[in-house]
């Protein structure tokens, strides 16, 4: 593979990485996430919005 081909291929790889796995703007979420968000908000309203008492994940 000559140098030009290799560079073109590497550029394509970079571009495809971003397209496939890169940053996404705010997007329309599937129902499962919108429903989940509603549940999380509602749970907190009911429980009195307890914050930060868990130290599970950093």
């Amino acid at each position: 593979m000559d140098r030009d081909d290799k560079t073109a291929l590497e550029d394509q790889i970079s571009e495809n990485l971003k397209r496939a796995f890169g940053q996404r703007g705010p997007e329309e979420l599937p129902d499962r996430f919108r429903d989940l968000l509603e549940q999380l908000r509602t749970q907190d309203d009911a429980a009195g919005a307890e914050k930060g008492s868990d130290h599970g994940e950093r």
Partner: protein, 209 residues
């Protein structure tokens, strides 16, 4: 990256000052929502399919929401979310008995198809090649190459040395080039463009939304 405007009923995940729900602006945890799209994208690099990726995002979202008190305001929220996500992924991974570095049983064997006409890769060829990389290389390429984190940031998120991230990125890229380009003396008979075109059109060209 533009929002799909086809579904009028869906509420936008974030607002730019036009929130109709007061909870959206008063609760700092709402800031997580703007990153869910990027979390899904990152999850796709780790997981093997869309459903598994969304399960991972869901679990991570809940953890982040419930443990938001451990997030230091003013630091990089997305990096914090991505760290939760990858830690969640690897916990499940280890429970399944996988060694980090295990290519996860994806069919080995090279993709020895030349890049499409005019040097353009078909996205699905790229994805098939990417799926053959070991998970730690996929993760490194996703963080550094796709999401734009620095080597230092990625090293912090993955709890490894900077040199390790660099090595994973380099090895991953070398392997992708190998997989995506015909070997020397390999498909020389496929330099016929017509033949290549037939082969390439036979591949599905799905696009990622």
């Amino acid at each position: 990256m533009a929002s799909d405007e086809s579904t009028a009923t869906a509420r936008k995940a974030t607002d730019s000052g036009k929130a109709t729900d007061p909870r959206e602006t008063s609760d700092p945890r709402e800031a997580i929502v703007a990153h869910l799209g990027s979390m899904r994208a990152f999850a796709l690099s780790l997981s093997r399919n869309d459903a598994e990726a969304d399960d991972l995002v869901q679990e991570s979202f809940v953890k982040a929401w419930k443990n938001f008190g451990t997030f230091t305001p003013g630091t990089n929220l997305q990096a914090w979310l991505f760290t939760i996500l990858r830690n969640t992924f690897y916990s499940a991974w280890r429970k399944r008995g996988r060694e980090v570095g295990d290519p996860d049983g994806i069919a080995a064997g090279k993709m020895s198809v030349k890049p499409a006409h005019d040097g353009q890769l078909q996205m699905n060829e790229f994805l098939a090649a990417f799926a053959q990389l070991p998970v730690e290389q996929r993760e490194a390429l996703a963080l550094v190459g796709a999401s734009g984190y620095s080597y230092d940031e990625a090293a912090g998120m993955c709890a490894v040395k900077v040199g390790t991230i660099k090595s994973r990125v380099n090895r991953g890229r070398v392997r992708l080039v190998e997989l995506l380009h015909a070997e020397e003396g390999g498909y020389s008979e496929m330099t016929d463009r017509a033949t290549s075109a037939v082969i390439n059109s036979a591949l599905k060209t799905g696009s990622l939304g």
